[in-house]
Symmetry: C2
Subunit: 120 residues, 2 copies
Amino acid sequence: MTQNNAQDVCQTECVHETVVNTIKPKMHSTELLLDLSEIFKILGDHTRVRILHALSLSELCVCDMANLLNMSSSAISHQLRVLRAAKVVKFRKDGKNVFYSLDDHHIFSLINEGLAHVLE
Amino acid sequence: MTQNNAQDVCQTECVHETVVNTIKPKMHSTELLLDLSEIFKILGDHTRVRILHALSLSELCVCDMANLLNMSSSAISHQLRVLRAAKVVKFRKDGKNVFYSLDDHHIFSLINEGLAHVLE
DNA sequence: CTCACGTATGAACATATGTTCAAATGATAT
DNA sequence: ATATCATTTGAACATATGTTCATACGTGAG
């Protein structure tokens, strides 16, 4: 077995056991961190961030967003599907229109926290 | 011109002009929101989130992280490159080892804000 | 019912992304 | 200098992702 795999890479040589052993029990589960990365992945798209930022200012229908972002309704709708699946936005139907709004105050906080970072 | 493009999708029909005109001047620039999405994109990866979470607990060398995450040093190093480019982590060299740590308190806040969301 | 329109969906496409393997650095010790 | 080890890098690969186009769905008006 000459090739490295995840198990035997410098496990006995360079690992600082004291630190690693202290941290290991403090770390959140892999599953939880996977969920965390999924949330960030949802926010990690130019179009979706713009949609969410717009929705943080007001409830909007698909057409309004298409107009605000200067994109096709189809492109907007595809992204709204992703945001719906992630329970980041909610919607109500009114005749032919579907009005979207933010469903989660945490997302609002994340967007604003991120904005503070970028604006600095 | 029969096909839709971004300009002429339901601009005169369904747009709620009052709302849209109120929001438009309040929206951050497309460029700023692009930067914002880039930050979230950095955090939107399973491996990188795990690295950052570990680093939020202690300074670590590549080998420690490979051990903690049960991955190859190469895979870790590739992701650290991304994190370095985004100025999310900083590093110091000590002999053969390279110790990484978080470089940005905003990232720490974002990770924890996100965790609060996921833990709820 | 039929039409128009707002919205949603599916397929296709190009592009981006993460991991692996192999090889190359850079530093320490002998 | 040579060997060894931690880290980095490059190429290749498979997979995921976002947009466009065409089409379908669902509602309200005539």
